[in-house]
């Protein structure tokens, strides 16, 4: 079988030819066959997204060949590349990249319009695609009225609009809670197994590799290993290879910090992960004590902390202390988290939100739900004060507030204050979820 994608000796530089030049990909060569489900696995900055952008024709190769179905796309004109990006490959982004001023259905129509397909025909196709994932009722909504999970489903559908045989997904689960992440993973699997599409995913989260049939480990712009395996073997491979393959030159402490960070803080941003990694390595090297470590986790982001809310900070620091006291080894903790990932921030926020409005008699609109989640995140991270929160809750919707009565705003504010300042209850004990 001829490969659908073949990279031959690809090098890629950022700021090429300038003093700040940076070699992001080094002599990359590999084959991907039609209908394969492939993952590129590596830490932030390893070059995996650059690789994906080269395959998708978003970046053009500077050195080496990128051969799609026998044709080197490095030689294509800009016009040819633009059409290749519509016909050949569908791209799914971590940040969804939906156009905020267009409705859901218009977002999906857009790639078809690019190929000259009429609005009427494109709309019929868009509605069929929306039905496929069961969200046709959201067709006329705007992206900011959707949850993250719904936005990502729209993002995937938009990638399918022109029925491309190759789907590339750049950290597609990064901004999703665990339920929505599962839904998206299941859909990617379906696109591979049922539709026969070639699926390529970039991820730094080991647990999301379970459906991939081939994994390329990438580190500092180099593919360190490729592994074709059954799903069971894939999980085993990750555990065995994680430390040595990802960062062979780092110390054991740094490796542990790096390995655990993405699992402890699933759904958090890259800068947050980086800061957490730093605190964790400081603690593992005993440069800070347990109390200071916990305090730094809970301190607001703008005060150089991590901005975790108290319960999460306590839980994470407790795990870390167990590792230090050798009550459990890193490998077993890693495996536990791999199987049952720690709830990402989005899950916590959703539970908190449900609890905060559990005695609210009105019904929250979708927009209010989204806004409330954002305010909770801002409050947890110390971006806004308790009084700011009450004010936003009380402001009328015409002024971008939530339009709650002063009584409701005060009640929600007090409940959240209690949790953030005093409360140590397990979330599950008060959450209606």
């Amino acid at each position: 079988m001829d490969p659908i994608i073949r990279l031959q000796n690809v090098n890629f530089w950022y700021e090429h030819g300038k003093p700040s030049e940076y070699l992001a990909l080094k002599d990359i060569s590999f084959d991907i066959n039609p209908g394969e489900y492939v993952a590129f696995f590596g830490a932030s900055g390893s070059g995996k997204t650059t690789l994906l952008y080269l395959i998708a024709g978003i970046e053009q190769s500077q050195d080496g060949k990128i051969i799609i179905n026998g044709r080197d796309i490095s030689t294509l004109s800009k016009q040819e590349l633009a059409i290749y990006r519509q016909v050949g490959v569908g791209m799914v982004f971590q940040q969804f990249n939906l156009i905020p001023s267009l409705s859901v259905v218009q977002n999906i129509i857009l790639p078809m319009s690019f190929l000259g397909v009429s609005q009427e025909r494109a709309k019929v196709e868009a509605m069929e695609l929306l039905k496929r994932v069961g969200i046709e009722q959201l067709a006329d909504r705007f992206p900011d009225e959707l949850s993250g999970g719904q936005q990502q489903r729209v993002g995937i559908i938009r990638a399918l609009a022109n029925n491309p045989p190759i789907i590339v997904a750049d950290e597609p689960l990064g901004n999703l809670d665990s339920t929505n992440a599962e839904t998206v993973l299941a859909f990617l699997k379906e696109l591979n197994e049922k539709d026969g599409r070639t699926v390529i995913m970039v991820t730094h989260e080991a647990w999301s590799l379970r459906d991939a049939k081939k994994i390329f480990f990438i580190k500092d712009g180099v593919i360190t290993e490729d592994k074709s395996s059954s799903p069971k073997e894939v999980g085993q491979t990750i555990s065995q290879r994680l430390y040595s393959q990802l960062s062979p030159e780092l110390s054991k402490t740094q490796l542990t910090a790096q390995a655990l960070s993405s699992l402890f803080l699933r759904g958090y941003s890259a800068p947050e992960l980086k800061r957490f990694e730093f605190f964790l390595s400081q603690r593992l090297e005993n440069k800070i004590d347990a109390d200071l470590f916990r305090m730094m986790l809970g301190r607001p982001w703008h005060s150089d902390g991590l901005g975790l809310w108290k319960q999460k900070a306590n839980k994470v620091s407790q795990w870390v202390e167990e590792v230090i006291e050798e009550k459990r080894d890193v490998e077993s903790l890693y495996k536990e988290l791999e199987t049952h990932p720690e709830a990402p921030l989005a899950d916590d926020v959703e539970k908190l939100k449900s609890w905060l409005v559990s005695d609210y008699r009105g019904e929250l609109s979708d927009l209010q739900s989204v806004q409330l989640r954002e305010i909770i995140v801002d409050r947890i991270r110390g971006v806004i004060s308790s009084d700011d929160m009450r004010e936003i809750l009380n402001l009328p919707r015409s002024k971008a507030g939530l339009g709650f009565s002063i009584h409701t705003a005060e009640r929600i504010k007090e409940r959240l204050d209690f949790i953030l300042n005093n409360g140590h209850p397990q979330l599950g004990s008060f959450s209606p979820v």
Partner: protein, 142 residues
Amino acid sequence: MADKKTKVLIVDDDEVIRIYFHDIFWIYGFEDRCELSVAADLDAAERTVVDPASRPSIVFLDLSLPKKVGGRTVIDPRYSFDFVKRIKADPLMSETRVVMLSDHAEKEFEAEAKEAGVDIYLRKGENLPKDIVELVSRLLAK
């Protein structure tokens, strides 16, 4: 093996359409079975069909194409219809299947195209890549 490939000609003055069709043939692997050529106007298309080395057995033809007439470039659907009639009247090319690509919704254009010998009449805005893939598969299967 090369001489066993089906020769396909795409004639359209819109570069996006030419690339679009070319990409479909490339990405869906039709190039293994086809030898594809493209033309941007009727004069280039005529040169392709009269040359035995490049004579196609499938033609995708735009309804409105530029043609040099008396030193001027003219765009008129009747030149495309005349082109089809010549193909169909030529014993060496009468088996050629012609797919007309049209921006026009008017029924009379479709009727005139059929009368000229067009096998399939497609409205340009009505076809997604998957529709074209299906059509090409069908044409190549015959």
